[in-house]
Amino acid sequence: MKRLAIAGLLIGAPACLMLALFSGSVAISPDRWWPILSGHGSPLENEIVWTLRASRALAAFTVGGLLALSGGLMQALLRNPLADPYLLGLSGGAAVGSLACMLWPLGTPPAVGATIGAALSATVVVSIAHRRLALDPYRLLLAGVAMASGTAAVVSLLLALAAPGQLRGMLFWLMGDLSASVASPLAALVLVAAGVVSVFLARGLDALALGPLKAASLGIAVQRTQWLALACAVIATACAVLIAGTLGFVGLVVPHLVRLSGHHLHRQLLPLSILAGGILLTLADTAARSMLAPAELPVGALLALLGVPVLLALVLRLR
């Protein structure tokens, strides 16, 4: 089962990217796939496949990997299976910043507003959870929930103040949207760097599952492990939010799905979650733009439709 899961993910990653290249509102027959892949496609085909779809598919894969990695790290850090990348109020802070920029355009792009909002929110939550040089998981959880509630209220107020013409863009951003996303080398770099750091932290994260005291008795530098894991999770989430808005369920569900395949130790769990998250979001985005083409569904809503039954099935399997 364990090897099967690894093989499935290693094959699934390029397969889903291929599917994303050749699916969409413009149909491309299979006999044209090889000429396009080998660089002999028509200008129109090259434009559609390489400029539009490849860039978006890579963006989707990167965002999925970032969110799944962040979810796995947060679940380890908080020792809570319900932890997800947005628990620190990052998505709420980013949403407030972004919507405020859409509502009152002062020359600041929504992405910059989202960055400032996410950073402020994470700073407040982490400052509250910081106790005697270590992070208190319960404080982190409660401060994150409080921040998420507060920012949700501000988002509601901003939506109420918005003009009808602005509402559609705002709602798509809130639900998560990859339609305007392009592959970002910086995000890919963040994904690789955070993934590598996480693998180095894996043993410490395994020991932290037994609590900070036991982890320290096993020689783990608890505070360093916690802070590095938190930094990786925050940066990965912020990157994902900037590219695609707030996409739910990937960070929550994917690490659990990987655990179901028998990979509990973080040195396997985290890299496999990156692959699984990338595959899941790439498939969901491909479905979102292909199912009712040329109309496009918000990928966040589609993920929620898929994620809720998966999460409920996971809950039923627990004990």
């Binding site: 020792r79 043993r203 008795s217 020689g219 130790l265």
Partner: protein, 271 residues
């Protein structure tokens, strides 16, 4: 091996231990006895170097324990904690293998440099270095957990979890073993097995400290005992000298019990 000099432990403005001078040599098995809340757990955590002392020192082979690098300290001292989170997602074998972390963290490749063959629990390869899978397998067998190795840890009973925690301490291969209430949740057979193991580890040359509530077990399995009466009063020494009727009466005074009010003699007709 392990020594305290004028050690004081305080928590929330309350002094639990004051001025404790205690020397634990290799080959000794100590029983730590005291009433609930007397500071046994905090004393063990302080001995393990995981908690700062309010005053005084803990010395491990003559060097203050807070000056030991964390990984070196973990190779030398294993602590069985009383409470751990219940949501560990890995298997029983994964849980026990975490005990090998201090040995593998810097040594790498699953080998435990410097850990030489000792009789009893330790597993050894031809060159005398301990290999991780062997160490885990041996620790599992010692606690009769071999058949449960692949089972998810969260599905175990309380007693099975306690045996897994003890097996993890064995896998840590430390020369000082500090076990906080190791008999919790164990049935009488496994209590005896655990105490036998502790006794044998001490006989092999390790220093073992057990926090227990059973004076009879302490008398039978331990060589020495420390009795914590209150923050300033304690007795320590060989079991035969320390654990007598008088000291136990002083340690566990029998206060007149108070019971809840008895039920009414006649049932309430309204019910």
């Amino acid at each position: 091996m392990l020594q305290t000099r004028a050690l004081s432990i305080r928590v929330a403005n309350r002094t639990l231990v004051a001025g404790l001078d205690w020397s634990m040599a290799a080959g000794q098995c100590w029983a730590l006895l005291g009433r609930n809340g007397s500071g046994k757990t905090l004393l063990l955590q302080t001995l393990a170097g995981l908690r700062p002392a309010a005053a005084g020192d803990v010395l491990l082979t003559g060097r203050a324990i807070q000056h030991w690098p964390a990984i070196e300290r973990a190779r030398a001292v294993a602590l069985l904690t009383q409470v751990e989170p219940v949501d560990y997602w890995g298997s029983v074998a994964d849980h026990v293998a975490l005990g090998c972390l201090p040995q593998t963290e810097a040594g790498g490749r699953g080998a435990t440099p410097g850990a030489r063959r000792t009789p009893g629990f330790s597993g050894a390869s031809d060159d005398g270095l301990l290999r991780r899978p062997e160490v885990v397998a041996r620790a599992l067998r010692c606690l009769h957990l071999g058949a449960l190795a692949g089972r998810p840890w969260h599905g175990l009973s309380g007693g099975e979890r306690q045996r897994t925690r003890i097996a993890q301490c064995l896998a840590q291969q430390a020369l000082v073993q500090l076990w906080d209430e190791p008999l919790n949740h164990l049935d009488p057979a496994y209590q005896q097995l655990t105490l036998d193991l502790a006794q044998r580890m001490a006989a092999e040359g390790r220093t073992v400290v057990l926090s227990v509530h059973d004076p009879a077990a302490a008398r039978r399995y331990c060589t020495h005992a420390l009795l914590l009466y209150d923050s300033k009063h304690f007795t320590l020494g060989p079991v035969a000298e320390v654990l007598d009727e008088t000291s136990l009466r002083n340690l566990y005074p029998l206060d007149p019990p108070e019971f809840p009010d008895p039920p009414p003699a006649t049932p309430n007709p309204a019910l």
